[in-house]
Symmetry: C2
């Protein structure tokens, strides 16, 4: 992978450069020149001699010097030919602005496939097609047709929507938000989000990677790259298209509850990606991450000159589960030395409405020395004697003096009165928020990311399992032409992965049944066993709570009679006697295959919790132990497992164990399409879990 | 109530007017003059002859003309004396800017009480004390010490925080948001939010009432006034201090789950108040409500020149439960006539990245004629040939031409490129949002408010009940010195309000028990009855599932033996035989008294749903039938009552019935402090509900 030629090319050719103002081929050439690009620029246009004072060439092949990057702006149908010329000329990178590919339908898709094929053959990396181009403010180079060129800074933005890109660039320029790189992905025929994220990992001008995505190209690669890069620098993403319906017809519980939105959420969590709900949130976060250090802990101190906004900030902290720092006694004593008596010396610290700049500064100085404080929010409302600009300067001065490593976020609230102060803060790297709530939400994201960075790298431990016997079971199943395993086979799969199943044995007649019952012990469950019967309940083929031999005799005969009545032709292998699990909680563990991310694991409480409350959690396989613990704790009804209402806690460790085994099972056997352990009986702490029932559906090998 | 003198006084005196710049008494005088107030201005200051060219008086009594409004800016301790002079001079309204009252502690609180007493005696209405003053842009009059005077418009803003007021006014001026009235509430010694809301109901310059509140003074009056005014114009409120802990020691379930946050939420719902989470949201909503008509239905059409933001908007619609309008066939045919072939003719309508202004206009024209469309969102991103300003003008022109009554919200996304267009839209009354998500959220609030306005006025039907016998039961209980009713008495209260309780009768010995059992029928529940035993389970005093006479004999004796063993001195009145309710859902109905709003009614499913999931809903009593229906439907587990998993639906009508009876009970008997019907057994549709157990705690009459 070589993306350097995109971002720091020594020379750029514009294939389809135009003299006509308003044409894309003209805008791009103008943008390259206007961006003060220092390399060589070669406009290509057989119908022109000179454009914008630059000599124009007939074709790439006529250019007498080396070309690093070609920007292609000609009609789609001519692009393949240009790629041939790129190859001949040894061009290493191409931006295909041209439309007319996958986005216009079948014919375009064919053309795009040919484009990819050629690009691979020629080892040319291609951005696009059907994109806005890209901008590198560090180079500098504006190889896009965006109307705006932003100022340089630490935020890189990858956009799957070109039009959104133009809005963001225009807005960033307006708000003086510094951009490192902007890349419009277009159709992602070759270069995709993970290529760029990977490249940006080592790009020193980029402090924060941000993206607007409508989908990812390769889910597993995306997780792999992102989870590695996010340990180094923050990745903030807006993902749209979350609520789109269009659920396919699926037969399992897990399938019904899964879906693309769940898969993306899970993948983001597992990759340490910071998710923003809107583009505005994305830049709020990015701007703060780019300019402020990460908090080392969660405790925040709030300094304010107004009670109301102080309460709002406190509310927001509680809502976001951010604790208010308990100030040291020393701190409070020091504050009392200079703050007026009517001030509030406790957190939130109210320096009062008449606070001049130096009162803010002294307060900040004292707070920054308090080891209980991990982050500071400074609120200012413009009252009669307030000095917004002076206060801004005082804050910046104090931060310089103290050399603090604590993040500081301000919230100067108002309009004209605070404008200059906010500008000064921003230019000094202190992000300002219009309202306290947004400041606190951003801080929350910083805390979460800080925790992610501190987490050790994911570890996938190999669990001992009898893979061979599972292979055989699957092969047999496929031989029979089925895609769903029978009950005994499915239990066999679990056993091979050392997942406990209830004691059970097949009885061909009542005498065998009586013998087996002595071994398994009452109470028992009876289940009819027949390859022809899938829905046992419908034919009276299940009976629970058999308490003694007498009941066993009665119910055994009754069941055989039932089944014969409903399905006289069924091939009956016998009746399964199964241990009845008592004093337990019913949970569910499921597997569903996501088209983007592959097997997803689901966990939830069984019964109404999964069906009515949809209280489940998802992760993409494979999962680590900490993923498993997280996904169990994520369900809203977790208290029921931890022992609500005076009950003893359930054996959560054993659920973790089963989750990890299932994770390995689906990684070992990609042919598993769907799987539900429902219920997984979880007994009391120390007593383990038992898979009560399991369904497995497999596809081709 | 007479607040006219505040907002349209013919003359204003400033007691404490000052020559010294920077002093509040100077700022207020300057603000009054600068606001171009047309009435007479009388500065009062014994130490000055003239201030700002105006003749200065020694005291109010020296002013030779009538004074409507006095603005008092002198130290708190002199305020009472000034009020005496106000009375003598027949001043009808006073704004007390001065601090030093309730907010400084006990002494101040005493002073404030004296102030209120005098004000009442003199029939002078007082705003404050400890406030920023007030602004009326229509008069015009700026009787505040805010640094900013906003432009005139339709939004009135009431603020419990003066400092927040300064921020908001500064910001409103900056963003050119038109304000009608601004009122700083201060300590609310006399004039409170509901006085102002009531006044603004008939104020024609005010189209939208907004407020920042930390609490309300009189909960019930607040609901009464707000629910009336909100039928006429929207009331939008930010309420802070929502998450404050400090829950008191409470003994009932309802008490544990109640709390101030729940009470405010309920009261806002019952009053049709639009709640904003932040001040920014508040003004987003207010500005749209003030300028756009309400939608008549919920269906939205989206016009965009960019796919990405179109998807974002669609996502936001789905999240907010706003359906995308299905366009008429006619509409689509008409769109096909002029939109390029690559456009999307279905909703969201993509007019493509190269759309000039007239393409937007034509599209809007067609859409506005589609009867399936209740609201339109127009998205624009500034691409190469986009014409933001021209498009803005085209939109405004189209709206004028079509005379539409459909609300239009725009989302021109960007910075400098779209600034002029946004300005034009704003000046034409079309609110613009930076991102589609905020536009959709605002539209959601409009839809909700529109539905509220269409709802008929609340109706409180009187239910027949035997109040007298309840009075007697309560009196008896108080005579005994208890505050908690015994089981039999509590059941008596329910019976008096025609709420079904299980059949039950007291048996003093086993012979009586056998007779009673014949009447009630097995299965039965046994409960010990003794005034000394509160926790029956602890002494083995409860037994469920008595199936026949034999079991009855055994368990009757066993229970007597149990109780004698644990509590040999207990005065045992006998054992209660009670009908055992089968095939039912357990719900809970509770009453808790909120200090601000009085009795609150809670509803939820029983057991873990209430204890672990806290899945309950609240309303302030009294409630209407539609309140009751709403609160039942509000719980997340409502599906369990409606018949999930193939079950028959529960008798929801009978829950509504019990809720209404309980609502009347607590209104009839304000001495009820706490009450839990837990469980309320709800049987299948048509079979009713039965109160399984009830606890009632009462206070003094």
């Amino acid at each position: 992978m070589n993306l350097e030629s995109f971002f720091c090319p020594k020379s750029v050719a514009i294939v389809g450069a135009s003299r006509e103002s308003g044409k894309v081929g003209n805008t791009i050439l103008t943008n390259i020149i206007d961006s003060k690009y220092k390399g060589k620029i070669f406009p290509i246009n057989p119908k022109a001699d000179k454009i914008q004072g630059l000599k124009c060439y007939n074709s790439l092949l006529d250019v007498p010097q080396d070309i690093d990057l070609a920007v292609i702006v000609i009609p789609g149908k001519y692009v393949l030919q240009t790629l041939d010329e790129c190859n001949e000329k040894n061009v290493k990178a191409a931006i295909v602005i041209s439309a007319g590919f996958k986005e216009v339908g079948k014919e375009g898709a064919k053309l795009e496939m040919q484009l990819v094929k050629k690009a691979k053959e020629y080892k040319i990396r291609v951005l696009g097609p059907n994109c806005l181009g890209m901008i590198d403010t560090a180079c500098p180079l504006d190889a896009s047709f965006s109307p705006s060129f932003p100022s340089a800074g630490g935020i890189s933005f990858i956009s799957q929507s070109g039009a959104l890109g133009t809005s963001v660039l225009d807005w960033a320029k307006f708000e003086n938000i510094g951009i490192s790189k902007f890349v419009s992905l277009g159709n992602k025929a070759d270069i995709s989000e993970e290529d760029l994220i990977k490249y940006m990992e080592d790009d020193d001008t980029c402090k924060v990677i941000t993206a607007y995505l409508e989908g990812v190209k390769d889910g597993r690669k995306f997780i792999e790259v992102s989870s590695q890069v996010s340990k180094k620098k923050p990745i903030i993403i807006v993902k749209s298209g979350n609520t789109s319906a269009g659920a396919k017809a699926v037969s399992s519980h897990t399938g019904t509850l899964a879906g693309s939105g769940r898969a993306y959420s899970a993948s983001f969590k597992q990759s340490g990606i910071i998710r923003a709900k809107t583009i505005k949130d994305l830049f709020d976060y990015a701007n703060t991450f780019a300019n402020q250090p990460l908090p080392k802990g969660k405790k925040v101190a709030i300094i304010t000159n107004a009670g109301g906004p102080g309460i709002m900030a406190t509310d927001a902290c509680e809502e976001n589960d951010i604790p208010m720092a308990n100030l040291n006694k020393d701190t409070i004593e020091k504050l009392k030395e200079f703050l007026p008596a009517a001030a509030n010396f406790y957190n939130p610290i109210d320096v009062l409405g008449d606070a001049p700049a130096d009162r803010y500064q002294k307060t900040l100085e004292v707070i920054l020395n308090d080891k209980n404080v991990d982050a500071v929010i400074i609120i200012l409302t413009p009252q009669t004697v307030t000095q917004p600009y002076k206060t801004a300067k005082a804050i910046v001065e104090e931060l310089k003096d103290s050399k603090t490593e604590i993040p500081i976020i301000t919230c100067f609230m108002g309009g004209a009165e605070v404008e200059k102060g906010i500008g000064y803060l921003r230019n000094s790297g202190i992000p300002n928020f219009e309202i306290p709530e947004n400041a606190i939400e951003t801080l929350k994201k910083m805390i979460e990311y800080s925790e992610w960075k501190q987490k050790s790298a994911p570890e996938f431990k190999k669990i001992k399992a009898d893979k061979e016997s599972v292979s055989k079971l699957f092969d047999n199943c496929r031989k029979d032409g089925k895609c769903e395993l029978g009950e005994m086979d499915a239990r066999g799969v679990l056993k091979a992965y050392n997942i406990r199943v209830p004691k059970a044995e097949l009885a061909r007649d009542i005498e065998e049944a009586k013998e087996i019952a002595k071994d398994i012990k009452f109470p028992l469950v009876l289940k009819i066993v027949s390859p022809n019967i899938l829905h046992k309940t419908d034919v009276g083929g299940i009976k629970v709570g058999i308490e003694n031999e007498k009941e066993l005799e009665e119910e055994f005969e009754q069941m055989l009679w039932n089944v014969k009545k409903y399905m006289p032709d069924a091939n009956i292998k016998g009746i399964l006697l199964q241990e009845m699990i008592q004093s337990k909680k019913e949970t569910i563990i499921g597997i569903n295959k996501d088209p983007q991310f592959g097997p997803m694991i689901m966990f939830g409480l069984g019964g109404i919790y999964v069906e009515v409350l949809k209280d489940v959690s998802f992760r993409i396989a494979p999962i680590t132990k900490s993923d498993a613990i997280e996904m169990i704790n994520e369900i809203k009804t977790i208290k029921l497992l931890k022992g609500a209402r005076g009950e003893k806690p359930s054996d959560i460790d054993s659920i973790v164990d089963v989750l990890l085994k299932i994770s390995q099972l689906v990684m070992d056997f990609p042919e598993i399409i769907e799987m539900d352990i429902n219920p997984l009986f979880v007994k009391k702490e120390g007593e383990g879990s038992i898979a009560g029932d399991v369904r497995i559906r497999i596809g081709e090998n």
